[in-house]
């Protein structure tokens, strides 16, 4: 299950409830908004998303993970819109009878999300300015 939403994300346990007692190892990753970036204080963060592509691509990432890491149960959620420091931007959970598979799947999914999911992060700083992060055009994305 892949979720894309503007409201606070479920916890890992809510996102992938224990379906049965067959899975021994559960690995969860949570990415939270930091209160600093490259030495600047971050007051808020805005994720812009291409929703239709993000939903399809998120589901494809999970399907690919299920095929690569067997046997594994996986789920992920990404938030968009405006987030405050400390709030979860992304949650990934992988469960397997074998912890190696659960770690590998969770790690692979967050790496793919960061590489493929069409979301763009705009940081708002404590000096009132803001900037697109990692936009490939350093400085150009800056705006007050």
């Amino acid at each position: 299950m892949f979720l894309l939403q503007t409201t606070p994300l479920p916890s890992p346990a809510e996102l992938l409830p224990a379906a049965d007692h067959a899975c021994g190892g559960i690995v969860a990753f949570e990415g939270r908004v930091r209160d600093h970036h490259q030495g600047r204080g971050v007051t808020a963060l805005h994720y812009e998303a291409y929703e239709a592509l993000a939903l399809g691509e998120g589901q494809r990432i999970l399907d690919e993970a299920r095929a690569r890491f067997v046997p594994v149960r996986v789920a992920a959620a990404h938030r968009h819109g405006t987030l405050a420091p400390g709030e979860a931007a992304v949650v990934v959970v992988a469960a397997s009878a074998h912890r190696q598979e659960a770690f590998a799947a969770c790690r692979w999914i967050i790496d793919e999300i960061k590489d493929r999911l069409p979301l763009w992060k705009r940081e708002h700083y404590d000096d009132g300015s803001c900037a697109w992060v990692g936009c490939g055009c350093q400085g150009r994305g800056e705006a007050p």
Binding site: Y50, G134, C137
Partner: protein, 79 residues
């Protein structure tokens, strides 16, 4: 041929709009990108961008069809 182009992040800032309808005789996504360059000054080039056709990633060489929704995807920063 008429298609819809959607803009995100720095491309949206540069285009000054989130989406527009574009008409012309571009056959591929690559040709559409060149066509768009005549009306906008973008901070990114094709080497930095991925193409999405109807909400799926596709190559720049994809042949477009009437009514397609195209987006040029700047480097992403989710997660």
């Amino acid at each position: 041929m008429k298609v819809t182009v959607r803009y995100f992040a720095t491309l949206r800032d540069a285009a000054g709009t989130a989406s527009e309808e574009v008409e012309g005789d571009f056959r591929t996504a690559a040709a559409l990108w060149s066509h768009l360059g005549e009306r906008h000054v973008f901070p990114l080039g094709p080497d930095d961008l991925r193409v999405s056709v109807n909400a799926s990633y596709a190559p720049f060489t994809t042949v477009l069809a009437e009514g397609d929704e195209i987006a040029f995807i700047p480097p992403v920063s989710g997660g």
